[in-house]
Structure formats: structure tokens, C-alpha cells
Symmetry: C2
Subunit: 185 residues, 2 copies
């Protein structure tokens, strides 16, 4: 289901708030960003933020859902430009390479899990669902082989970590080559 991360339509000020929150949460982290700062950056007020979203936690969950939806749409676009076959799985690594070029804080879901994991936060199920969806995508692209799909997914997550936390610039390329070898075997 591609609608699993859909976000309800928002009022104009709500849209600005979610945009500002998304940028700040990703760049600086969730706990590091206060609601006052979000309201200021969106050119509106805390009152409007709480009228629209109810709580910071709910805003965080919405940020994660919209981010998952957009990232998966981006990846699907990349994959669909490649003719069906095992090359489609490798295209996911090309999408990751392009994304990491500007989004140098890595995977928003891994980062969010580091901050809210194990707390009962409403964003937690969104994080798990995003990982499950990426694994399902890989499995689908290799024709339903769940083991191979899961293993390609590990390379994808590992590349994300190696490039960002590890400061290893060729992580994605390395992952792509390992993936090609697993697809050959």
C-alpha cells in the first residue's frame, strides 16, 4: 500500500508549521528543537501549532509519516526508470546516493529512533513501518525472495550509517557493489 504514510490535508499555517518542523527536526534533532522555534520559523504562533496538531509528539509523528511517504515516492520514481529485472534493486542505491548528497544527516527514521525509541512515542510505529516497507520493496524487486530482499536491505541501511555517522564517502557505492554480488550468486 503506497497510501500507508499519507498525511491529511492541512490548512496553510499548518502546512508551514509541518514544513518548518520537518526541516528543523531533521537538521538538528527532535529534542533539540522547541515548539517556540518551530512556530517562529513558520511565521506563526504556538497557539496555531497546538490548534492544528495537539501536541509536539503528534507533530513529530506526522513529520515522520510525511517523510516516509515522500522518500518512498522518490525511490519508486527511480526504480520505475529502470526496466524490470534485478537492476531495479540496484537503482534503490542510486536513489540513496542522490539523497545523501544533500541530506547529510542520514536516515531520519534511524535518527528519530535514537531519540524516541522505547518511550511509547506515537512516532515509533511509523519508524518500524518505514523499515518494513523498504525491506518489502527490496523483496518485491528481486521477485519475492524474502531472504535476498532482507540482505539487500541490510546493505542499504549499512550504507546510510557508514556515510553519515562513519564519514565514509564511498559507502553507497560499496553497498551497490556488494548488492550486485549477492544478486549474481
Amino acid at each position: 500500500m503506497s497510501a500507508q504514510f499519507d498525511v491529511m490535508p492541512l490548512t496553510p499555517a499548518g502546512e508551514r508549521l509541518l514544513d518548518a518542523a520537518a526541516e528543523l527536526f531533521y537538521r538538528r534533532g527532535i529534542r533539540a528543537v522547541g515548539v517556540d522555534l518551530i512556530a517562529d520559523a513558520a511565521g506563526t504562533t504556538k497557539k496555531t501549532l497546538y490548534d492544528r496538531f495537539g501536541s509536539k509528539d503528534a507533530l513529530v509523528a506526522l513529520y515522520l509519516r510525511r517523510r516516509a511517504q515522500r522518500w518512498h515516492a522518490f525511490v519508486r520514481g527511480y526504480v520505475e526508470r529502470v526496466p524490470p529485472g534485478p537492476q531495479q534493486a540496484l537503482a534503490v542505491f542510486d536513489a540513496l546516493a542522490e539523497r545523501l548528497a544533500d541530506q547529510d544527516r542520514g536516515c531520519a527514521f534511524v535518527n528519530a529512533h535514537a531519540e524516541i525509541g522505547g518511550t511509547g512515542h506515537p512516532g515509533e510505529p511509523v519508524i518500524r513501518a518505514e523499515k518494513a516497507a523498504m525491506r518489502a520493496l527490496f523483496t518485491e524487486l528481486v521477485g519475492g525472495d524474502a531472504d535476498l530482499g532482507a540482505q539487500l536491505h541490510l546493505l542499504y541501511e549499512g550504507a546510510n550509517v557508514a556515510v553519515t555517522a562513519g564519514g565514509q564517502p564511498d559507502g553507497v557505492e560499496q553497498a551497490r557493489r556488494a548488492a550486485a554480488r549477492l544478486l549474481d550468486g
Copy 2:
């Protein structure tokens, strides 16, 4: 060099503070834990904390260094119980599996990077060094093949993410099997 993460000897209260901080930082996250809580948990005072460590940031950096030192010693111990050969690289995954059984918040360095990455925090170089050391270990264990070592390292990092943020219990086993396939080829 195995001494690169060594932590200077500490006074008794300093030791208790670092122990308490390590537990709290790992379980709840760095920003989520205040210095008052750390002092209380260690049965001492904020005064002593600042006398010993100077700042919360310095305490965080020390926590990361000691964690890296202990984790690498743990992995080395696992590896040395296996006769030299490619099986040693697979033993790292066994070490990871055992560690993730109780330490269910995943990689402390990835988590820390999510909170302090890109801020100029004194813990940042420790994080990068830990990732470089794990990659170097894999490379060493496969006889110096830097590409293969880097690719095994990606599977290791990916397994960490898949099990924790992804909630995928068989992530390490899957990574180990993919690693075995890369070692065979």
C-alpha cells in the same frame, strides 16, 4: 591501536558518575538525560560532576570513548576464540547477536550521532573513529581486502539498524549469511 579509546583513571565518585551517565545516555538518549539526574543516580552531586569532567559535553565524549573501548575488547575476545581464517569475520556477527540480546537500543554511536552530529560536539570524532575501527577490523580479518572488509562492515551496521529501529529479530542472522556469501565468492 587498541589504546585509542582509553579513558584516564578516575576518582571513585568520578567512576560512579561515568557509570551512571553511560547507562542513562544509552538507555534514554543524551539530550533526554540531565546532569542532575546523573548526579543523583551516582549518589553524588553536580558539583563533583563539574569538578571531575568540566562539562556535560566532555562527559558525553568520555562515555563514547569508554563504550568504544569496551565493545572492541568484547569483539576481539569473540574473534580470538575462532581459528584464523574467514570464519573470524563471521564471529563479529556472533558478538553482535549476543550484545543486541540485552542492549536493545542498538549502536550507541549511531544513536549519539543522531543527537550530536554536525554540531561540533567533542564526541563526534569518537563516533567516526569507532566506525573506522570496525571497518578496519573487518578488513584485517579478511586478510587486508579493504573492499570486502568495508562490505562486511555495511552488513554489520545494517543488522544493527534492522534489529533495533526496524524491529526485525533475524537481522543479525541474515547479515551473517550474506557475509558468508560475500566471503565465498
